[in-house]
C-alpha cells in the first residue's frame, strides 16, 4: 500500500512562493499527472515528495506517516529524471544494479533481478554498453529499468519525455502506460504537455502559479474546466475564448463580441448582463455552406491537415476563431468567403471576468 497525501504543502524560495497550499490525496496504484505551464510549481512539488526539497509548510504523508524529515532513500520511492541522469562512468548493467547494491543484495540475486527487469523494458542487449553509446530513447528506458529494479511502491517521473523527439515521445509514453498497467503501482508524473496528461492520467492535477487549479479525470478536465485557464490549456487546437458582453434583450440573454452575436441557450437564462467570456472548442463548431447556423464569419486562413481541416475566421479581434472540419471537405474554401457557423449549445461555456466558469459543462 502506498497512499500519498500532500497536506497544505507550501514551498518558498526566499520571497518567491513556488508552491502554495497544495492539498492532494493519491491512492495506491493511481496514475496522477501534475500538469501546468513552466514555473507553476509542479516540479517543486514532485521534488518535495521525493525529498530533495524541504517543504516550507505542510506535510507529506506516505501511508499515513509524515515523511517530511525522511531521506529520499528511506521513502520507498523511485524517480526518473528529465535528463535520464544515468551514471556516465558506469556500464548500463552497473547503472541498473546500483540500487540493489545499495541495499546489499548479494551478486547472484542482483544479476537475476537485473536480467528480469532488462527483459521487461527490452534493454537486455544494452547491458554491457556505456550510457554514451545509448540513444535518447534507450537511455530513458535504462533509467526506467534502474528505478524498476528496486521495486519502489511509487514512481516519480519528472518530465521524462521532454528531451525526446516526437516519435520517441509517443513510443515511451506507451511504455509508461504499459508499465503502469503491468505493475499496478502509483505513478506521479509531471509534464507541461497537456496531451501527455490527457492520455496517461487516471487523474490530472492542474497547477498554475504554485496553486492547484483543478483536480479531476481527463474527461472532467476537458468537459468541465473550472476556469478559462484550464479550458484554454487543454485541447488542441485550444478552445475559442471570445471576450465580450452579455446583454439582456427582453427574455433571453444574448452574447456579443466583435462580429459575433448570438442568443444563449435556455440553461443560461440566469446570466447577468456585463462583461463575460464565451468559450467553445473548435471541434464543436459546426460548419455549413448551406446557410444554416448562428453566426456568419469570413474565412481568414484554411489549413488542410489531412485528417482534419482547420479554418481560421475573423471574429473582429486579434485572435482568430478556429473551427475544425473532418476530412478535406472544407479544404477548398477561399479566403474571405463567409461561412455560417453553428455552435452546439451543449458545448458552450461562459466565463466571468475573473476567469471562473459561470455556466456550461456538467452544470
Amino acid at each position: 500500500m502506498a497512499r500519498i497525501e500532500l497536506v497544505n504543502l507550501s514551498k518558498s524560495f526566499g520571497a518567491v512562493a513556488a508552491v502554495k497550499n497544495v492539498d492532494l490525496a493519491i491512492e495506491d496504484g493511481e496514475f496522477v499527472v501534475l500538469v501546468g505551464p513552466s514555473g507553476c510549481g509542479k516540479t517543486t512539488t514532485l521534488r518535495m515528495v521525493a525529498g530533495f526539497e524541504d517543504p516550507s509548510g505542510g506535510e507529506i504523508r506516505i501511508d499515513g506517516r509524515v515523511v517530511n524529515d525522511l531521506e529520499p532513500r528511506d521513502r520507498g520511492l523511485g524517480m526518473v529524471f528529465q535528463t535520464h541522469a544515468l551514471f556516465p562512468h558506469k556500464t548500463v548493467r552497473q547503472n541498473v544494479e546500483f540500487g540493489l547494491r545499495m541495499k546489499n543484495m548479494p551478486p547472484a540475486a542482483r544479476a537475476a533481478r537485473v536480467a528480469e527487469v532488462a527483459e521487461l523494458v527490452r534493454i537486455t542487449h544494452l547491458l554491457d554498453k556505456m550510457p554514451s553509446q545509448c540513444s535518447g530513447g534507450e537511455s530513458q528506458r535504462v533509467a526506467l529499468a534502474r528505478t524498476l529494479v528496486t521495486h519502489p511502491s511509487t514512481f516519480l517521473l519528472d518530465e521524462p519525455l521532454s528531451s525526446l523527439d516526437a516519435k520517441l515521445r509517443r513510443e515511451l509514453r506507451a511504455e509508461c502506460d504499459r508499465l503502469h498497467q503491468t505493475l499496478k503501482r502509483t505513478f506521479i508524473y509531471v509534464t507541461h504537455d497537456q496531451e501527455e496528461a490527457m492520455t496517461l492520467a487516471d487523474r490530472i492535477v492542474v497547477m498554475r502559479a504554485g496553486e492547484v487549479v483543478q483536480i479531476g479525470s481527463p474527461m472532467e478536465i476537458y468537459s468541465d474546466p473550472v476556469n478559462s485557464f484550464v479550458a484554454d490549456f487543454f485541447g488542441s487546437p485550444s478552445m475559442n475564448l471570445l471576450s465580450g458582453e452579455i446583454a439582456q434583450d427582453g427574455g433571453l440573454p444574448r452574447f456579443r463580441a466583435g462580429r459575433i452575436e448570438l442568443a444563449l441557450p435556455e440553461r443560461f437564462k440566469a446570466a447577468k448582463p456585463g462583461a463575460a467570456t464565451l468559450g467553445i472548442r473548435p471541434e464543436h463548431v459546426g460548419l455549413g455552406r448551406d446557410g444554416k447556423g448562428d453566426v456568419e464569419l469570413p474565412v481568414r486562413l484554411v489549413e488542410p491537415l489531412g485528417r482534419d481541416t482547420l479554418l481560421y475566421f475573423d471574429a473582429g479581434s486579434e485572435r482568430a476563431f478556429v473551427a475544425v472540419s473532418e476530412g478535406l471537405a472544407m479544404a477548398d474554401v477561399s479566403v474571405g468567403a463567409p461561412i455560417r457557423l453553428s455552435f452546439d449549445p451543449r458545448r458552450l461555456y461562459v466565463f466571468g471576468t475573473d476567469g471562473r466558469r459561470i455556466f456550461g459543462g456538467a452544470g
Partner: protein, 293 residues
C-alpha cells in the same frame, strides 16, 4: 585609403609575428642560457665575450652536482655528494603529499560549497585572499610555534603548512569542475539508496577525474617551487630543492655557474614538463569565476 582585406591581413601578420617572436625570444632566452650554461666547461661560465653555445658541451656539471663526481678546484668546495638527490627526494615527498591532502580535502570542501553552500561567496573570496597575505608576516611566530611542537625542520611541518596555503586554490579549482556535474545524477544515486559520502566518492569525484588531475598538477607546481616557508622551517635535517640551490649558491660564493645551472635545470625541468602537460587547464585554474564557461 581603404585597405583590402588581404593587405590588411598581411600587415597584421607581420606585426603579429614580429611582436610575438620578439617576446618569444625574451621568454625563452633565460631558459636557454640556463640550460646551455649547465653544459659549459668551467672556463666558459662567465667569459667575455659571452659564449652562447657550449664548446664543447660537457656533462661534468651534472655529474658533479647530482652525483658528486669530482671537486671544483678554485674554491675547493665540493658539495656533499648526495645532497641534491636527498633534497630531490624531500621535495618529491613533501610536494606530492601536501598536494594530495590539499586536493582531497579541497574537493570535499568544494563539493560542500557547490551543493550545500557551506561557505558563502564572500567567504570563498576571503579564503582566496587569505592566500594573498604575504607569508612573511607569519613566518617568525610560525617557526617558534613549530619548534614548540617539534615540527621544525621536519617534513611533516612543511607538508602541513603547504596544505594550509594551497587549500584555497584547491577549493576554487575543483569547485568549477564539480559545478559542471549535473545534480540529477547525484539525486538519482541518492534516491537509489546511496549515502552522501558514497555519492561523493563513487559518483561525483570519478566524473571529474581529469579536473582533479589538473588541479593536482597545478598545486604541485606551487608547492615544488615554494621558497620562503621552506627556508624558515627547514634547517639541517630537511631541505627542499629550492633551498638546496640557495645553499649551494651561498656556500660556493655564487660563481660556480655551470654547476648551479645543472642544479637549476634539475629543479626546473620536471616543473616545466608538468606545466606543459596541463597547459589546457591553466586558464581554468586562474579564472576564479571571472571568465564565462
Amino acid at each position: 585609403m581603404a585597405m583590402t582585406k588581404s593587405q590588411r591581413r598581411r600587415i597584421a601578420a607581420v606585426v603579429r609575428y614580429g611582436v610575438l617572436s620578439l617576446w618569444a625570444l625574451v621568454a625563452f632566452f633565460p631558459i636557454y642560457w640556463m640550460v646551455s650554461t649547465s653544459f659549459k666547461p668551467d672556463n666558459q661560465w662567465f667569459s667575455w665575450p659571452p659564449v652562447y653555445f657550449p664548446d664543447p658541451p660537457t656533462l661534468s656539471n651534472y655529474l658533479n652536482v647530482w652525483f658528486g663526481a669530482g671537486q671544483y678546484d678554485v674554491t675547493q668546495y665540493a658539495i656533499s655528494s648526495q645532497k641534491p638527490l636527498v633534497s630531490l627526494w624531500n621535495s618529491t615527498v613533501i610536494a606530492t603529499t601536501s598536494t594530495f591532502l590539499s586536493v582531497l580535502f579541497g574537493s570535499l570542501l568544494a563539493y560542500g560549497v557547490s551543493r550545500y553552500r557551506i561557505l558563502s561567496e564572500a567567504r570563498m573570496f576571503q579564503l582566496l585572499m587569505l592566500r594573498m597575505i604575504p607569508p612573511i608576516v607569519v613566518v617568525a611566530p610560525l617557526s617558534l610555534y613549530y619548534s614548540a611542537l617539534g615540527l621544525l625542520d621536519s617534513r611533516t611541518g612543511l607538508i602541513l603548512v603547504y596544505f594550509l596555503t594551497t587549500l584555497p586554490y584547491a577549493v576554487w579549482m575543483t569547485k568549477s569542475f564539480i559545478d559542471e556535474v549535473p545534480r540529477e545524477v547525484e539525486q538519482a544515486a541518492e534516491i537509489l539508496g546511496a549515502s552522501r559520502w558514497r555519492t561523493v566518492f563513487e559518483i561525483v569525484l570519478p566524473l571529474i577525474r581529469s579536473g582533479l588531475v589538473a588541479t593536482f598538477l597545478f598545486i604541485l607546481i606551487l608547492t615544488w617551487s615554494e621558497y620562503l616557508l621552506a627556508l624558515i622551517i627547514t634547517k639541517t635535517q630537511v631541505t627542499t630543492l629550492p633551498i638546496e640551490l640557495s645553499k649551494y649558491q651561498g656556500t660556493t660564493e655564487g660563481r660556480v655557474y655551470g654547476r648551479q645551472a645543472a642544479l637549476a635545470v634539475g629543479i626546473t625541468i620536471p616543473l616545466m614538463i608538468v606545466g606543459l602537460i596541463i597547459r589546457k587547464h591553466l586558464a581554468r585554474g586562474f579564472s576564479f569565476g571571472m571568465v564565462r564557461r
